[in-house]
Symmetry: C2
Subunit: 509 residues, 2 copies
């Protein structure tokens, strides 16, 4: 390949720095591209190196249509060794790589700007299920729902769960440290990992596939890769924790006078039910209204309207546990004390599922209300009601007619603070205000010691926000880690933190 001028330090160009200038915009010469593709075809087989426009197109966009990338090819290695060979070939050619699982991410983290899209879809084997170790070993391309199913077939629970579980792949879940609806009881994706296998930027394979509950043999490398969005290496397999399956589960749907009351209910229930409280989600009146409006198969769970709703779940693995009775007692007490206005409890698994559907269908029905500007944020639990009140007031003041839809994982301090456009406003004009609302919402988040990225990650969409709000020393550490593990900036370059030559985050759709 051609020699590229490269930046050395802050002040000038030197030849010594191995990192090519602007890897995004670096279009490899036709010869380099053809040599790379020939190498990959030779190694992976013709049919796993896709270059036809219609084959590549789905890998260029993310789920909200906010970005459209470009790529030389989508390659589909079939094993860890083939992933390693692909990475090595790209490293030799100086061509960037973006790893993709189910491409369900919400922050543009999987969008390629040039280079190769490496699909993990063919690494789809469950390598081992071991109930004796309460562990399952899966390849990165296994669909999340299939991990759950494999655990279930072995009489165990893999708790990670969220709306996209039918198409999201576990490697992506780990690369983004996915959250979801079971975090309250079981933790984030990171907390479910015992071991990892990772292909590094130079194509070497780190084998950290241990099924151990305790392992202090040096620095904890797995936590570095989990949540790094493919910028430090490519996760190819993982050993995950399994749990006993609950024998009793009850779901309640609760009407409350305010978001603040919902937070108070959470505090009360988490003290009383502790480890049995396995979900606590909040939905505002506007959220339930649009679900019932746009998803006609949904049934209104409570008579009358309430300012806020909570979906609460108790579950237990104790033989003989009666979570329905436990939930009824808790909610009856809360009604008696005037904290809860009304509540219903699912009388069957079908009813439980119907109540959950009211929560799960919310994001999709919000689309039917026009443009939405989204913020996935977290604050300490004690500041959660303050956050929602202040941010709602500030956003409504900034744009009359705006409809705030603050919903989500209240028990984790994580709110999807989404803004639906005023009725009748031009969608593009509304979305053009995203930056202004970022400033309003994220300023409040930071005042309350929160995070501007709770569970969806940084990717492209929040890269510049992180640069603005992140602790400068922390950001410098991140850049040092990136440079130490990927000195040529070829692993999903420009995501999370921008290095000197990375292009702007906001590229045209």
């Amino acid at each position: 390949m051609a020699t590229h001028p490269a930046k050395g330090g802050a002040s000038g160009y030197v030849e010594a720095d191995p990192r090519p200038a602007n890897p995004f915009l670096m279009t490899p010469s036709p010869e380099t591209a053809e040599t790379l593709l020939a190498t990959l075809r030779d190694r992976l087989g013709e049919k796993h190196v896709l270059t036809a426009a219609e084959d590549v197109a789905p890998a260029l966009v993310e789920s909200r249509g906010l970005y459209r990338g470009t790529a030389l090819a989508v390659v589909r290695p079939g094993s860890t060794e083939e992933v390693a060979a692909t990475v090595r070939a790209c490293a030799e050619a100086g061509v960037p790589i973006v790893a993709q699982g189910g491409n369900t991410g919400l922050v543009g983290g999987g969008v390629p700007y040039g280079g190769i899209v490496l699909s993990l879809a063919r690494l789809d084997r469950v390598r081992a299920v071991n109930p004796g170790d309460a562990a399952i070993t899966v390849e990165a391309g296994v669909i999340l729902a299939d991990v759950q199913a494999a655990a279930d077939a072995a009489g165990m629970l893999f708790p990670l769960s969220y709306a996209a579980e039918g198409s999201a792949r576990i490697g992506g879940n780990l690369a983004t440290n996915a959250g979801g609806t079971a975090v309250l009881a079981y933790g984030n994706a990171r907390d479910l990992v015992l071991g990892l296998e990772v292909v590094l930027a130079d194509g070497r394979i780190w084998n950290g596939l241990k099924a151990l509950r305790k392992n202090n043999a040096g620095y904890d490398l797995k936590h570095l890769f989990i949540g790094s969005e493919g910028t430090l290496g490519i996760i190819t397999a993982a050993v995950l924790k399994l749990f006993p399956k609950p024998v009793s589960r009850s779901v309640g749907f609760v009407g409350l006078a305010s978001f603040r009351s919902a937070v108070e209910l959470f505090s009360r229930m988490s003290r009383a039910a502790d480890r049995d409280l396995t979900a606590f989600e909040v939905i505002p009146r506007f959220g339930l209204d649009i679900v019932l409006k746009h998803a006609p198969d949904m049934i209104r769970p409570l008579h009358g309207g309430h300012a806020a709703y909570a979906l609460v779940e108790l579950s237990s693995t104790r033989p003989g546990a009666d979570t329905a009775a436990e939930l009824e007692t808790l909610l009856a007490g809360a009604i008696e004390d005037g904290l809860v206005q009304d509540a219903t409890i699912g009388a069957s698994e079908a009813q439980n599922a119907a109540l959950w559907a009211l929560r799960e269908r919310l994001p999709e029905t919000q689309k039917a209300e026009g443009g939405s500007i989204k913020h996935d944020v977290s604050v300490p639990l004690s500041r959660l009601a303050d956050f929602v009140e202040h941010a709602t007031e500030a956003c409504e003041a900034a744009m009359p007619g705006l409809r705030v839809c603050a919903f989500g994982h209240a028990g984790d301090g994580n709110i999807h603070f989404n803004l639906s456009q005023p009725v009748g406003m031009d969608k593009a004009a509304f979305l053009g205000e995203w930056g202004r609302f970022n400033r309003i919402v994220h300023d409040i988040v930071m005042e309350l010691d929160g995070s501007i990225a709770a569970e969806h990650g940084i990717g492209l969409i929040k890269r510049d926000e992180l640069a603005l709000y992140g602790d400068p020393v922390g950001l410098d550490l991140m850049r040092r880690l990136k440079t130490a593990l990927d000195p040529r900036d070829l692993m999903n370059p420009g995501k999370i933190v921008a290095l000197g030559d990375d292009p702007p985050a906001a590229l045209p759709v």
Copy 2:
């Protein structure tokens, strides 16, 4: 300070590498040392820069007397800013720093070879207790028992607990990712951390003190410092998770026919009691015998002897929970099925404490039996009985009369595989065999996909073992991380992984 020749790459000396040759053995010139000490006295006050031999001596040795280091001084900064100033001054002088909390570590990780010992003991403030966030913010020098007490005073539980909790300090617990007796239900020290404050090798302060349950704002930096034994930076404060206090607790002491039966009992109890099973410890007959022999205030818990004993604890936060009844049912079933030979259940908190003492006093009473060669290892739960059987057989064959004492956190797959010397053998001669037994035990650990360092860490004592058994790619990653965060190798140099110029791990006592 003088210019030091420095190694560049594997093959020769160049001036460009900023890392001084052999920082351990680098005795700073008297001028450099005096300038540094003057700077530190000026910044911290005379009385917090200790150079008198009797003041420095306690910081030079570790608890087992396996190593004796040297140091210019013990300095006692009183705040994060003073820690930062100390690190900056040392960085300017090119003098290495070892951070110490309670100096209770078991792997020589806190032993200084030259340079400065930075004591965190004066950073002993509980900065905030917030039950609403289920969080507590503490400085690194708070004694673990005081963290527990502060949580308790707020009506909450901080679960990290182990024998040295009365003198160990929380910063050291986090720097070593301490384990202990509550890991089964609450996780390792790492799992209890929400946020960290760290002084970096260049004296800058990273403020990551967030009390958030979800935070995907870039790479997870806290997990990099937790367990890094002070080699990447110095933890100065942390936000830790609190939990509801159990309202019911029951402790059982169980006699079994074999270690294998104990593992089977764990499997059975963890399925049945799940999150209520908060401890499962195993003690061999030899272990109980020596506790009863050397700790005369201890009372034999069961009539007759058994090959193996398990200490089991159920606890629950559910109002009205009756863990005693639950435990009785479980153990009665296990006796009926022939799995358990005999069992007793504590009838009061005093009796529970007495049963726990049988386990907690074991390490100290082992000292009375002469030299012991210790291995803190873990394997997958399904291989635990195989490990203990194979390793016992191999060690007994290697040295007739050797007394195996394999005890500990069986529910975590973590065994302290300790070897007491044959009766009458010379202690020093026995300890001289440590390397031979490392090979025997660690070979079996690795065959069973385990870890040679479960909860005590690597420090000096296992540094060369890690180099021998660790995944070479993983080791290279660790060295890269070390070099990226501490390019001059001044933060606790030579611990965990050795860089090119670091001296041998086995230095004379």
